[in-house]
Amino acid sequence: MKKTYNGSCHCGKVRFQALIDLAAGTGKCNCSICMKSRGWGAIVTPEEFTLLSGEEDLSSYQFGSHSAEHLFCRTCGIKSFGRGNVPQIGGAYVSVNVTCLDDVTLEELSTAPVRHMDGRNNNWFEVPAEVRYL
């Protein structure tokens, strides 16, 4: 069931609300940047995401195909969400870092299904052979 969550970076400059159904699944990936930041995201549409504060505090990092904006807070460095446009998953999206949700319960986090993606091998819709460290 979709529920509105409040989220933030660590220092609190970046704050947002997002309508997420955690039980519908989250994603972890082994690509070069998700490896270094333990990316753990829930995908929502831009309409389901509201940035409450911090647009000017966000720094954007792009690489590779430049199809995604990897956003992080200039002050604390935390990546609380990212955004992009990938037609295969329905176009414009916001990927919310579920570990930045302030009012999520431990049970919601620990029972949220996780789909693993083999981004490292550009095979995003398959599960990588090794997922223990993700």
Partner: protein
Amino acid sequence: MPWRRLASALSSKAMKSSRARTAAGCGVPPPGAAEKVGSAVARFQRDGTLGRAGRACHALGRLPFLAPHLPETHKMKYEGSCHCGRVKFEAEGEITSAMACNCSMCQRRGSLLWFVPRDAMRLLTPEENANTYLFNKHAIRHRFCPNCGIQPYSEATNPKGEPMAAINVRCIEGIDLAAVPVTHFDGRSR
């Protein structure tokens, strides 16, 4: 020495990989090693001086025994970086385990931390290439790349006053992360 018992007790999984097997080199854990490790962990958790609520990560100062004071002959050199390469480092030691913490910062970062004496880590890029984030008691300098946002390391001093680095092993190149035993630390409750 606690570090040796910890390394032995936790290395059974690590020893499955050839790299870890080479690195461990300690043979099988001695009888009672696991119990002694548990005792050491419990002592540090019980006697730590930083327990309090709020946004804090005390792991860097609370687990100094993870620092690998290994003989020179057992040390390996690792290289790592942020994503874009603006922050690069090398570190000497043995990655016998890494720590995952659930405090307000570590939960968001998802870091797997390897503690080394600060002088065992050498920056290959200028110090000022990494931004610093401080919070709470400002005891830990969280160093992240201002270009890509990745946090390869933090700096602090342990309870003995020795400069330490907590390296995010996710940022180290060429290691078998799945073979690194992970210890979990309940930083959120402290």
